[in-house]
Symmetry: C2
Subunit: 193 residues, 2 copies
C-alpha cells in the first residue's frame, strides 16, 4: 500500500516520456509497461485505463509547468524581466512537449473533457498572471498605462498563436527565434520610452 504510489509515479513518469514523444494515440500500453518495467496487464492494477494514465501525466505536467513558472516569476523583481522570462519558459516547455500537447488538439482527442477543464483553468490563470505582471510594470512606470485586462488577453492570444505553427509544422527550430522576435516587438510597443 505504501509504495503503490511509488509504482504509480514510476508509471506516470515512464508514460510521460513516451507520450511526450509520440502523443496519446501512438503510445501503446505495451510500451508504457516495458518502460515501467512491468507486464502489460500489471499496469491495470494501478490504472484502470490508458486515458487515466494520460490524465495523470497531464495533471502532473501542468503542475510542474506551473511550479516552474512561479519560480521564474519570483526569480526577478523587475516586471520586464519577469514577463520576458515567463514567456520564454512557457514557450520552451510547450515546445518540448509539442508532441504531447499535439495529442490534445489532434483530431478527436479534444473530447477528453478533463483536458478541456485543465486547459480552460490554465488559460484563465495565465491571463491573471500576465495581468498582474503588467500591473506591476505600470506601477514602476516601465509599461504604458493601458487596460491590463485587454493587454493580458492580447498577449495570451499571441502566445496561443505561436502554438499553432509550433505544433503543426516541423520547422521547430524557428520557433525560438520567432518567440524572441515577438518578445521584442511586444516590448518596443509596450515599454514606455
Amino acid at each position: 500500500m505504501v509504495d503503490k504510489d511509488q509504482v504509480r509515479n514510476n508509471i506516470i513518469r515512464a508514460a510521460g516520456t513516451i507520450f511526450s514523444k509520440f502523443g496519446f494515440r501512438k503510445t501503446t500500453m505495451e510500451e508504457i509497461a516495458r518502460a515501467a518495467g512491468k507486464g502489460k496487464s500489471s499496469i491495470y492494477y494501478y490504472f484502470s485505463s490508458k486515458e487515466e494514465i494520460f490524465e495523470a501525466v497531464v495533471v502532473k505536467e501542468a503542475r510542474t509547468l506551473k511550479k516552474e513558472l512561479s519560480k521564474v516569476i519570483a526569480g526577478s523583481p523587475d516586471p520586464l524581466e519577469k514577463l520576458r522570462n515567463y514567456i520564454l519558459v512557457r514557450m520552451k516547455t510547450f515546445h518540448q512537449l509539442s508532441n504531447f500537447y499535439r495529442a490534445i488538439f489532434d483530431e478527436g482527442l479534444s473530447h477528453f473533457d478533463f483536458i478541456e477543464r485543465i486547459r480552460e483553468r490554465y488559460d484563465k490563470q495565465e491571463i491573471l498572471t500576465i495581468r498582474s505582471i503588467f500591473l506591476e510594470g505600470i506601477k514602476t512606470g516601465q509599461f504604458k498605462p493601458e487596460d491590463p485586462d485587454l493587454v493580458a488577453i492580447a498577449i495570451v492570444r499571441a502566445l496561443k498563436g505561436l502554438e499553432i505553427p509550433l505544433f503543426w509544422t516541423h520547422v521547430n527550430e524557428d520557433v525560438d527565434i520567432a518567440t524572441e522576435e515577438i518578445l521584442n516587438i511586444l516590448f518596443y510597443g509596450i515599454v514606455k520610452q
Copy 2:
C-alpha cells in the same frame, strides 16, 4: 510522366519527416498521404508498399549524409580537423534521425534486407574513410603511426557504441557532450605529443 518523379520526391520528403519522428511502425500511410497532400490510395500509384517508401527514404537519407560528410572532409586540409568534423557531423545526423534509425534496429525490423545491405556498405565505407583520414594524419605526423586498419575499426566501433544509448535512452541532450568527450579522449590518446 515528367512530374511523376516530382510527386514521388514530394512523397519521399513528406514520408521522411514523419518516419524520422515516429519510426517505421508508428508511421501510417494515412499520415504520409495527408502530409503529401494526396489521398491514401493515390500513394499506391507511386509506390507499391509502405516498405518501398521507407526504402526510398533511407536511400535518399544515406545519400544526403554521404554528401554532407564528403563536404565536411573536403572542407579542411587538416586531418585532425577532418576527423573531428567528420565524427561531429556523423553523430549529429544520427542524433537527429534517432527515431528514424531506431526503426531499423527495433524489434523484427531488421529483416529488411535492403537495410542490412545499406548498413553493411555504409560501415565498410566509413572504415575506409576514417582509415584514409588517419593515414593522412600519420603522414603529417599528427597521429601516432599505429595500424590504420585497426584504429579505423576501433573508432567505428566506438561510434557504434555511442549509437546504442543514443537510440534507446531518452537523455538525448547528453549525447553531444558525450561525443565531445569521446573525441577529446580519442585525440589525447591518438595525437603525437
